[in-house]
Symmetry: C2
Subunit: 191 residues, 2 copies
Amino acid sequence: MSFEQSQARRGGFVLWFTGLSGAGKSTLSRAVAPHLAAERHVEILDGDEVRTHLSRGLGFSREDRDVNVHRIGFVARLLARAGAAAVTAAISPYRETRDEVRRHCEAEGIPFVEVHVQARLETLVSRDVKGLYARALAGEIPHFTGVSDPYEPPAAPEVTVSSDGEEVARSAEKVLAHLRARGLLEPEVRA
Amino acid sequence: MSFEQSQARRGGFVLWFTGLSGAGKSTLSRAVAPHLAAERHVEILDGDEVRTHLSRGLGFSREDRDVNVHRIGFVARLLARAGAAAVTAAISPYRETRDEVRRHCEAEGIPFVEVHVQARLETLVSRDVKGLYARALAGEIPHFTGVSDPYEPPAAPEVTVSSDGEEVARSAEKVLAHLRARGLLEPEVRA
């Protein structure tokens, strides 16, 4: 429950990155965050941190993933209500679940900006920073998104970036440009 | 992870009510909240809301209660970082667990104000708004705090109120007076 008596809404919003493991959600969220922090408090809820603090004990079944995503959505909404930019960087593989979170936000007047961080599976497999794709392809990790578990890309994300060939700075600029166009970030001042 | 680049901390804090079921934590938090809302965003995390959105599936063992309290503490800390007054109203029966949450807050410079909402068990049993004490005393509810599960009162709470004979308005004023004395709330202006 929140109380807003003598103050106008302070302009928080939810910036929701979705994409496969290793696609660059966390990297991109860290590239974008400092640009937002000049104007408001920014909090990044990344998949690992959330699994530790909010969702320990949950697994990777559809049901457990949905509970996890709804929890992230709940906390992001609370932060946005408080005027913060809540940046989430969890895989969040199911379209319907992301859309439910969006509806909950928009029902409260909280802007929800979905950013699809695309990457071809071949790229991720060849990059494989954590060695997870090799293990998943060998059948050692059940429910691995993109290999042995579904990933449903957004039907109409506000922004799509690709980490296949696009520089992080370029992807970040696309996100920032969208936020400026929406009035969620001050226009860039050029000296 | 949070980013604070060009802005000072905005003065969020955690106001943590603890006490037995029916002692008046939610009632008191709702009495206090409007007085805080003039100066900052206020969010009440009450026990029932949190059980729905953050902790569904957890039970009432010591371990599950501790996980629940740590989750509330995590979210309250995020909100306070964003400059909000995070008001919690969960039983939170274990002293050590509350103290851990306090340490996490204070380590970040976030003021943690613990309010013990006292009430004699006889009062709660005779009041028994939800009929839970009668059922717990009949042995129908295992792990019921104060009857079949422990409640450890705070050793040194910032504020102690009693809902036995004290009016809610008087209890609320004690909490507000403490916040003013700590500089967490503007001094009262008398016309």
